[in-house]
Symmetry: C2
Subunit: 502 residues, 2 copies
């Protein structure tokens, strides 16, 4: 007898399964915040629901709650005034133990059915969640809505579909009958049960709380595990470490700094630890058809959400002797200048710029921009922009600095934020060598190449395969290297030893 | 264009895929060493091929070979006189690097096709390999043939089928077309390539070199990795550690001691480490229909290959107040005695006994039997049996010692070999509590329960699920707890944190 929630969402699940098999474009949750899609008044109701959360305790009942924590300030400048319950970890895990007993036994159809039901209910609250994402991450509203809601929900559905795809391969029962020549066959009735691992801990990041948090969370739920999302705590205390070392915790999904990720990998040995840590994303420019369209595409990737994306490019390698373009030879400085102009055009109009840039998530980003200014000659300086709607918002445009290949101590680490380096190399072969080594040693989520030469493209593919990074080739249109499409792209690979350890 | 070896073995692969989906009985490689199956003269030719290997260097060309190692003595008493090349590890890995480049790029159909071709060629040499297994492990010939050849080959095929099942889910190409309202859709052509992890190191065990070694080896080959099987080396040197810490090694499949397994887990951080370490397998006796058939079944599991199996039971829990049987109440001592009698019947006739017991793999087993004798009252002493064909063979029968539940420092560790404890507990509930805790703390591959009470069966199922061990219920016929059937049983689970870490 199938679980009713499984039946309710079976058609959605089947579509998702077909999508992950075909990997063409598909989306379950519409990305348009239009009233024609989400209904008249949905936007206003969502905004009102978000506003109603401000300046009071967040309505969340947690076992073992004692006291509260708060003090969040929106990257757009306003005090949120929300407080969250502070929990006693022992009491929390005692409650988890009680709750998980029945959940663990409920079985694959219940796990998947309930997960899908949660997801469709979350989708209905997309506007409310979009405002929450906006005012905690600093993303512009449309991005908060799209990346934080339908795209994140698509990624959750993708995780559930992968889970079901594996769960459904284990029959619940089998009859085993082994012939014995002239004698009676040996007969066995066998039962198989998928046993969840244990408690899954999700430690998200402050830039993409839902987009980065949902996949691990729903993968664990859909396979029958209880999930603990890292609870609110005072800055700098050891709540995350305490949670991670609980013996009940058997899965950890982490997004954040390399130092914290490596600490988990080394110390949380009782758990299967998945980490997404820092990395160095790179663009290799070899030759182009049209420099302007390349610059436009790269500029958008540098500016989108102020470069505060794990997929945003940082290092742009250009041969010091320049490159060939359809318009003729371009010197290294001409290439750097073209990219700078692309950025300037994109962020020249403040009203339009803030819808791309959003706001800076924390002071660390602004400090990093200041520090990066001293690294080399500035091709394009970072500007502070006044936000038309939010005067106290921290809005910054990208900084582009010129470096030489030998400055590897400067560019071979992550400068999280709107910081890009145009780096002079001996040749494209040199660029690719640096890129390969950077991925292996420092991790990366994206590599991008621009070339009109099929041999260079082949070399770039070999580098991507060797080092284990996703490669984009000649992106000049409306698709950007820092976007990752659910059901189609693989966001991150398990191939980079220092980055992702399973 | 499909790879010709993939096409050649496609039907076999399809059968294996159907078998792992249905999990009923299936075998690709016949377990009967009959001439009707393997051909007239196959047995004789295999024996001759094995004999031709003796007393000379093993015909194996290895890069970086310098000098040789040898000195193996068969558990049946004879000097094998075989020497193996000793390799320089740097030279070996330099050769691997060259060889793996083309292999990594060959793609899923080539990886799987070549793996299946290797396997079918191995099958044709089963008799030769059976003799090699016999004279390195001490298994009796029929077991060496069955477990070491067709069953091991089935397990290899199972691993290849799992690999293909996952590989085939990734399309090589997709067209991604995202609608843009009234505008032209965004279009992308996407290519996906499965990138192997790197070099896979297989560290097998001296009791089941092929049965335990093939699954990891073929799983790695079928996914495009190069495989290094731990090379021959002088006893006690650090070859295994040196191999395990090579940065090229990205997968390790290990079977062996807990100390060595934990060393790998802790130190070989660059690799995905799969370990099968020591454990404590257990039988819970609650109530029986027919004590004789229970005793016969348990006795066979204790005696088979002198208990030198990772699945062989060690601890047999019986309530100190005795149990109910169809024949009436049986005291604790009557139960212990019945099992002892079962063993005695099985090994009473030396000619028949040696075909079940085989020989003791090394002196450690014999020393362990001597040490275990001192642990408590002996229910059945271990005997030395003269082997009719091999006068110098080390043949030992099972030892059964009586213990009390409070003697946990004695029985809560692995006593590898033909050593069993009948342990008096307060009740079956107490037995199950001990069993649960033993699995979680010390690892286990098998748990077996005998009960006529459906509630006790339910409790045993709950213990097995909680602790993550495979459970056998009321085995009294020709199926034994220490046997694991390819395509149907799951040998080992990932659920025991201290035992298996992924």
């Amino acid at each position: 007898m199938s679980h009713p929630l499984f039946e309710r969402h079976k058609a959605l699940l089947d579509q998702a399964l077909a999508a992950i098999a075909g990997r063409g474009y598909w989306s379950a949750f519409p990305e348009s915040p239009s009233p024609r899609v989400y209904g008249e008044g949905a936007a206003e109701a969502g905004k009102a629901a978000f506003d109603a959360l401000l300046n009071k305790p967040f309505p969340l009942t947690l076992p073992g709650a004692a006291g509260s924590v708060g003090g969040e300030v929106s990257p757009y400048g306003m005090q949120l005034g929300v407080t969250y319950p502070k929990v006693d970890i022992d009491a929390l895990f005692a409650a988890v133990e009680k709750a998980e007993a029945a959940w663990r036994k409920a079985g694959p159809e219940a796990w998947v059915g309930v997960s899908l039901e949660i997801l469709t209910r979350i989708n209905k609250r997309s506007f409310e969640i979009a405002h929450a994402v906006m005012h905690t991450t600093g993303q512009a509203f449309v991005m908060s809505f799209q990346a934080g809601c339908p795209h994140a929900q698509d990624r959750a559905l993708e995780a559930i579909a992968y889970a079901w795809d594996q769960l459904s391969r284990i029959p619940s029962k089998a009859f085993w009958e082994k012939p014995q020549g002239k004698n009676e066959p040996l007969k066995m009735e066998k039962h198989y049960r998928v046993v969840p691992r244990g408690v899954a801990l999700v430690i998200g990041c402050n830039t993409f709380p839902t987009w980065n948090g949902y996949p691990g969370m729903f993968a664990s739920l859909a396979t029958g595990n209880a999930v603990v999302v890292k609870v609110a705590h005072d800055a700098g205390d050891d709540t995350a470490q305490k949670l991670a070392l609980r013996p009940e915790v058997r899965i950890i999904d982490f997004t954040g700094s390399t130092a914290n990720g490596e600490w988990l990998e080394k110390n949380a040995r009782q758990a299967q630890v998945y980490t997404e840590k820092a990395g160095v994303n790179q663009i290799v420019v070899d030759s182009v058809e049209d420099m302007k369209s390349v610059a436009r595409n790269v500029a958008f990737s540098l500016a989108l959400y102020t470069g505060q994306m794990c997929t945003a490019p940082q290092n742009i390698y250009v041969p010091r002797g320049g490159i060939e373009a359809a318009e003729g030879h371009l010197s290294f400085d001409q290439v750097a200048q073209a990219i700078a102009e692309g950025v300037q055009k994109l962020v020249g109009d403040p009203a339009r710029a803030v819808e791309i840039l959003g706001a800076v998530v924390n002071d660390g980003v602004a400090q990093r921009i200041d520090a990066a200014r001293a690294l080399g000659p500035i091709v394009l300086d970072s500007q502070t922009i006044a936000h038309p709607q939010y005067p106290k918002a921290r809005v910054r445009t990208p900084l582009i600095v010129k470096l030489d290949a030998k400055d590897d101590s400067k560019y071979l680490k992550e400068w999280f934020g709107p910081i890009a380096f145009v780096i002079a190399t001996d040749s494209t072969a040199h660029s690719l060598d640096i890129a390969r080594s950077a991925v292996v040693k420092h991790g990366a989520l994206t590599l991008s190449v621009y070339s009109t030469d099929p041999k260079i493209i082949e070399s770039a593919i070999a580098v991507a395969e060797d080092s284990g990074v996703a490669l984009s080739i000649n992106l000049t249109g409306g698709v950007f290297v820092n976007q990752s499409a659910a059901f189609s792209d693989f966001h991150g690979t398990g191939a980079i030893p220092l980055r992702t350890r399973h």
